[in-house]
Subunit: 442 residues, 2 copies
Amino acid sequence: MTESVDRLFVHCRQLVTLTDGDPTGPRRGDAMRRLGVIDDGAVAVREGRIVAVGTTAEIRAAYDAPEELDLDGFVVLPGFVDCHTHPVFAATREREFHMRCAGADYMAIAAAGGGILSSMRAVRAASLAQLTERTERHLWRFLEHGITTVEAKGGYGLSLVDEQKSMQALEQAGAGVPLLLRRTFLGAHEFPPEYRDDRDEYVRIVCDEMIPSLAPLADYCDVFAEPGVFTREQSERVLRAARAAGLRLRVHADEIQPMGGTEMAVALGADSVDHLGQISDAGIAALAGSDTVGVLLPGTIFFLGKSGYAPARRMIEAGCAVALATDFNPGSSHTQSMTMIHTIACTQMHMSVEECVVASTINPAFSLQLDHEVGTLHPGKRCDLAVLDIASVDAIGYAFGGNPVVMTVKDGLPVVANVADHNPDWFADGAVLDEEWEGGEE
Amino acid sequence: MTESVDRLFVHCRQLVTLTDGDPTGPRRGDAMRRLGVIDDGAVAVREGRIVAVGTTAEIRAAYDAPEELDLDGFVVLPGFVDCHTHPVFAATREREFHMRCAGADYMAIAAAGGGILSSMRAVRAASLAQLTERTERHLWRFLEHGITTVEAKGGYGLSLVDEQKSMQALEQAGAGVPLLLRRTFLGAHEFPPEYRDDRDEYVRIVCDEMIPSLAPLADYCDVFAEPGVFTREQSERVLRAARAAGLRLRVHADEIQPMGGTEMAVALGADSVDHLGQISDAGIAALAGSDTVGVLLPGTIFFLGKSGYAPARRMIEAGCAVALATDFNPGSSHTQSMTMIHTIACTQMHMSVEECVVASTINPAFSLQLDHEVGTLHPGKRCDLAVLDIASVDAIGYAFGGNPVVMTVKDGLPVVANVADHNPDWFADGAVLDEEWEGGEE
């Protein structure tokens, strides 16, 4: 007697379940090495949730479904969870990228109109509809890369009205895209020019005006805690105000110069502390003893042509829960590819396959309080899958510079397929170009 | 009165023609900065060749065609020319990659069965049909990344019979793929175990047996000239034998330790000298005064987690003609993405957009004696195009970790389309999976 479900995904060359351990994160120590791989794996789905995982034979023996999708030859993982992104922007910054590659320093780029304030001007100039349209395009692209859960920050408005527009654009864009979204208010991303000479007044506006007004549009509050940007004292003020307004906390910290940002984040009970290129030994110790997840953004170091990668090995060996994220943004990390982040994590931070997988699934899910919903393939969780065209899970990180994701499944439904069509019959079927192509990116 | 052609490509957001200068390479000095960009550009094609380029209005006024393809929103470049690849292999080496990322040194990897000799064992064990099938899959993937001309090396057989099998596999695979291929014999890639203790005997076999026998299957001969592999004297012997057999020359040189390999390659009139992480000042001067192209392989340095990038800026400023290539191979650079190589070239070697474009089109074409055929969009050349979904040519290098190539045109025909299909109607049209997907990669 078999049980009826909605759909089976069968014949996965390898199904990476992460079900050898507890269903919820953070995955530390030994747990970072247990992938729970099932050869010729299958997933049974009902109402968007996982009913069971097993071998194809086991699942077919126990379940029947009106639909079956054959994933023969592919490696299937939990959909990636990207817990640090800045997708609410209106314009790319490729000229600044090339100025920096040519050796221009931060001040020269700022003088030429670049940097975060460049994105601020573009966001302020955009209408809500324009910003929503652009953001929606960015959100779809996460899905094209197998990312099914995204933490998305505002932070390019830097005024009440423009941060409100950003959070509204995020909400409206998210409504049109099958992603699980968590929203972060980041008014304290930089000081806008009008408060450059009265920084404490901007902090007051963030705390007393923006946070109370925008808390209903956000799940988290983040702050760029860094010498020269928000001091430790200013950062604490923002984070305490956010907590008082019911927001949970994330912190940009210890990116360029150490300032005890990690220790502060842990002390305040932040869910994540992010960047960490300059984390101190004390910061590592504090993090290891906490439930705060350390979010590493190696794509940013690579994209900026720097060398200060976060000390991933020391952190993992100390017992920190580590996540990897794209840091997708127009200035310092213009990628939405989690698999590219894996390659950088392997080659530059010496992380293993197992660590990369855990750090892009259950650990970031934990940092978003979504570990009961996503991040592993335990029964009851959402059926979110990243389907990769790689030889085995050992090839995570090994193929780079393309997109190995051939299909993304969200809540049990395929929502993106990346098809490389050889010798397309263009002129017999002009519809390929007209209907399926999206047109140029920004 | 309009002239009849076969096909028009119209409304390219930007058409990057490289037609501001001489049609043939190498493009040095000022020429490295002249892209010849046409906004709203168009190309007229007849019998696979470019008849004219111009604005869409100009081309439509002068030509009519039964077929027109609208590339609205895309940036269109000459198809990329990848002049250093090793696609004739039978097995990937992802476990070795992760051992290296975890800190294993070359000797430990070799002891575990890794390295070039691992690929040698797999090639020797493969049948010609198996090796052909694998190689053909690799060749298609170049096209998926906008690469339309490829220099492809053997070099994982390391015996007469296995190098012959490799060159035959390359020829048979190439017959099934619409790439312009140049074939390179690389018997002197490493010493096989049976001659580890009699290296000069292996060099003699390469020179006296392999080269005379395999020259009809190759256009070039290459050698891995490096202390610990082929000494300068051994390399010269191989290269002179190859030249005597009618082959042109390419050289792996100055990768790990300087050995005057660049100076040797220039003195022998090699068409390219490749790697160059440790090129000396004398090597740069010799190269700048020659017609030899310096081929930089930054993907390899990145993939190996090293820091010794070739001194691209000093080379370009000294007047060297520089090319970029993927070095696609299973051990030290497992990528086929030229756009990823652009990002690494920009961020780690400080190359500009113009330099990246020239270095991946006309300069490598020159190094392959194909500068009259490909590498720019001059009338009369083959109509090979890479169609990129980026905002402008300035965004070359800026978006990383995916594949911005949405279409590849070879000899005037679209041969690959990369389509991201959102919300595919899978179950109404199961054909998408069955017919178009290729199945798992190796």
